[in-house]
Symmetry: C2
Subunit: 333 residues, 2 copies
C-alpha cells in the first residue's frame, strides 16, 4: 500500500449544520491492518441528515465526532487486506469506515456484507435508510391495512421508502415534500396517493382534505413547523414516528413550538423516537424483506452521486440546502 | 317523590376554568323513571380536574357540556326507584348522574355497582381516579421493578395512587407537588421515596439528583412548565404517560413550550395519551386489584369533602386554586 489515504477531518464544531469550512482534507499514510482488523478501500461514502447530530456536541444518541478526527460516516468498499479470519480480500462490506479512501477497522465496524453490485444500495435502500424506513414504520408506526399515513421528507432516502412500504402494507399515503418537483416525484415515482408541497401549500388544510378522519401514522423526519401542522390532524390512537428533526437548525437555545400534550391526550395518541442502531439484531430480516420487494419491482429509489472526496466538505450542507435528488453518495472509485 | 330536585346548571362557557358565576342552581321536579331507567338519589358528587375539559368547547374526548344543562359529573347514590330489571331499590351505584340531587338515567349511565360503605371510594380510589392510576400506569407506563418514576400532582387523587401502586410494583418514586405540606404528605402518607416542591425547588436539579440516570416513567397530570423540567431527564426508552394537562389554563391561543421531538428521538422515548373511558372492559379487573391492595393496607387516600349542593359552583375553581386536600367530593346526604 504505497497509496496515501485522503481523510476528511472535522476541524471545528459548527453551531448549526456543518459547512465546508468546518472540514479539511488531510493526506495520511494507509495503515496496516493489525490482527483482527481489515483494511477496506472505500468506493462510496454516505451523506446522512443525521450527521448534523453526530457532529453537534449537544445531547445525542452517540458521542460527538471529535475535532481533529476523520468524519464519522457509513461507507462501502472492498476488503484489500485482512487480518481477520471471517473476512477475505475481495469481499465487499459496508460499515463505519469514515470519510476517507482507506479504513483500517476492527470487525465490529462492519455493518453488513454486500456485493459489488449492491455497494451503493447498501448505503441507502439496503442500508440504514431502507432499514430505518421498514423497522421504524413497522415497530413504532404499527401500520394496519387501511391506515392513512403522512410522511415528511417524503421524496428523501428514508421517506420515499416509507411511502412505498406503507403502500405495500395496504396504507393510504400522503407525502410532504419541498417544491413542485419533489411533490410530483412523490406521486409519480414513489406511488404516494397524495403529495403536499410544504413550501406553498397550506399543510393543515391539505391534510384535512386528504385525511378528513385524521392521519393514523405520521412518520416524521423533520419536526418543526411541518410537524406542527400535521400533529393536530392525528386520528384517534394515532402514532407519530419521531425519526428525525431535520428542519430544526440548532437546539441551543432550545426551540419552542405548539404544545403536543393536549393532542396526545385527546387523541390517545403516541409519539415515539426511533434510532436504527438499536435494532442491529433485525438488520438481516429487514434487508431480506427489502431485497424481496426490490426483486418484485415494488421498491424503487434514487441516488444523488457526487464524485471525488473533494465533494465531502460541502455535501452535508448541500443536503440541508435541499440540493440532493435522492440518496446522496460520494463516489471514490 | 314530592321532593324538588336541585340541579347545578352550566349557564355560560368560561374561557379558562369554570368559576362559580358560570353556574346556577335550579329547582326542578324529580323525574319519574321510564321503562329501562332508574332513579338515583345522589349521596356524593365528584369534582375532577378533567371537568375543565368537559366544559371547554375546544377539542376534547367528549362533547362539551351544553349551556343550560346539568353539569356532567360522576356521582354515587342509592337507587330509589327502578324500572330496570337489573337494578333494585336500595342498591348503591356510581355513574354519570350529574350535579343534582336525583338522577333519572338509563342503565348505560351506571359505571359500577358499589356499596353503602364504598360510595365515596367509588368516586375516587375505586373509581376513575384509582382505575386511571392503575391502568394508565400499567398499560402505558409499563413499569418494571427497579424503574424510577416521577409523578406530577403526586399528592392528588390520581397521583397519590400512582405513587403507591408504582411502589407496590417495585419502582422508586419521586413525587412532584405544590407546597411543603403536599410535598411532606407525598413521603409520609403515600410512601414516595422523594418529594419535590415544584413551587420552590429547582425541579430539573432535583430530578437529576434523585434520578441521575434519568426517569424511566413520567406520569404527567399537568403538562406545562413542570413537565418541561422533567422531560429532559427521561432515561433511555423512557415513557411519558400523558394523563392530564391541569397546569394549562387555556388552549386558545394554543400555548407553546420547549419542543419534545429531540428528547423523544435521542432517548428513544415515548409519550402517550390515556383516557380512562376507553378501558371500560378493564374496570372490574382494576377495581378488584385496588380493593385487594386496600384490604392489605397498602393503598391509602384522602378525601376533601364539601357539604351541600351550594358548594358545587365554586368547587372546581377551588380545585384549580389548589385548595383541596385529597379527592374532592360534595356530600348531599
Amino acid at each position: 500500500m504505497a497509496d496515501l489515504n485522503r481523510q476528511v477531518i472535522l476541524t471545528s464544531r459548527p453551531a448549526g449544520v456543518a459547512q465546508a469550512e468546518n472540514f479539511a482534507i488531510r493526506h495520511a499514510p494507509v495503515q496496516q491492518s493489525a490482527p483482527g482488523q481489515i483494511l477496506v478501500r472505500n468506493h462510496y461514502l454516505s451523506i446522512e441528515p443525521a450527521m448534523r447530530g453526530w457532529i453537534a456536541d449537544t445531547g445525542n444518541y452517540a458521542a460527538p465526532v471529535a475535532i481533529g478526527s476523520v468524519m464519522r460516516s457509513l461507507a462501502s468498499g472492498e476488503v484489500v487486506a485482512s487480518a481477520h479470519p471471517d473476512y477475505a480480500v475481495g469481499e465487499h462490506v459496508s460499515g463505519w469506515f469514515g470519510w476517507q479512501d482507506y479504513a483500517c477497522v476492527a470487525a465490529d465496524q462492519v455493518v453488513q456484507r454486500t456485493s459489488a453490485a449492491e455497494m451503493r444500495a447498501s448505503l441507502g435502500i439496503l442500508g440504514i435508510n431502507g432499514m430505518t424506513a421498514y423497522l421504524a414504520l413497522t415497530l413504532v408506526g404499527q401500520p394496519r391495512a387501511g391506515d392513512i399515513i403522512a410522511v415528511s421528507t417524503a421524496a428523501g432516502a428514508v421517506g420515499s421508502a416509507v411511502g412505498q412500504i406503507a403502500r405495500i402494507l395496504g396504507c393510504r399515503t400522503i407525502g410532504l415534500a419541498g417544491g413542485p418537483d419533489k411533490a410530483r416525484r412523490c406521486v409519480e415515482d414513489y406511488g404516494y396517493d397524495h403529495a403536499i408541497d410544504y413550501r406553498t401549500d397550506d399543510i393543515g388544510a391539505a391534510i384535512a382534505r386528504h385525511a378528513p378522519d385524521g392521519v393514523d401514522i405520521y412518520f416524521d423526519n423533520v419536526a418543526g413547523a411541518i410537524s406542527d401542522a400535521v400533529v393536530p390532524h392525528l386520528a384517534q390512537r394515532g402514532r407519530v414516528v419521531v425519526c428525525g428533526t431535520a428542519s430544526i437548525d440548532r437546539w441551543a437555545p432550545w426551540p419552542t413550538g405548539p404544545r403536543v400534550e393536549r393532542h396526545l391526550l385527546v387523541k390517545r395518541a403516541r409519539m415515539e423516537g426511533f434510532v436504527i442502531f438499536d435494532h442491529v439484531d433485525r438488520y438481516a430480516e429487514a434487508t431480506a424483506q427489502l431485497q424481496a420487494w426490490i426483486a418484485q419491482g415494488r421498491l424503487t429509489w434514487r441516488e444523488d452521486i457526487l464524485d471525488g472526496i473533494e465533494a465531502c466538505p460541502d455535501a452535508l450542507a448541500g443536503l440541508y440546502r435541499g440540493e440532493n435528488d435522492g440518496k446522496r453518495l460520494i463516489r471514490l472509485v
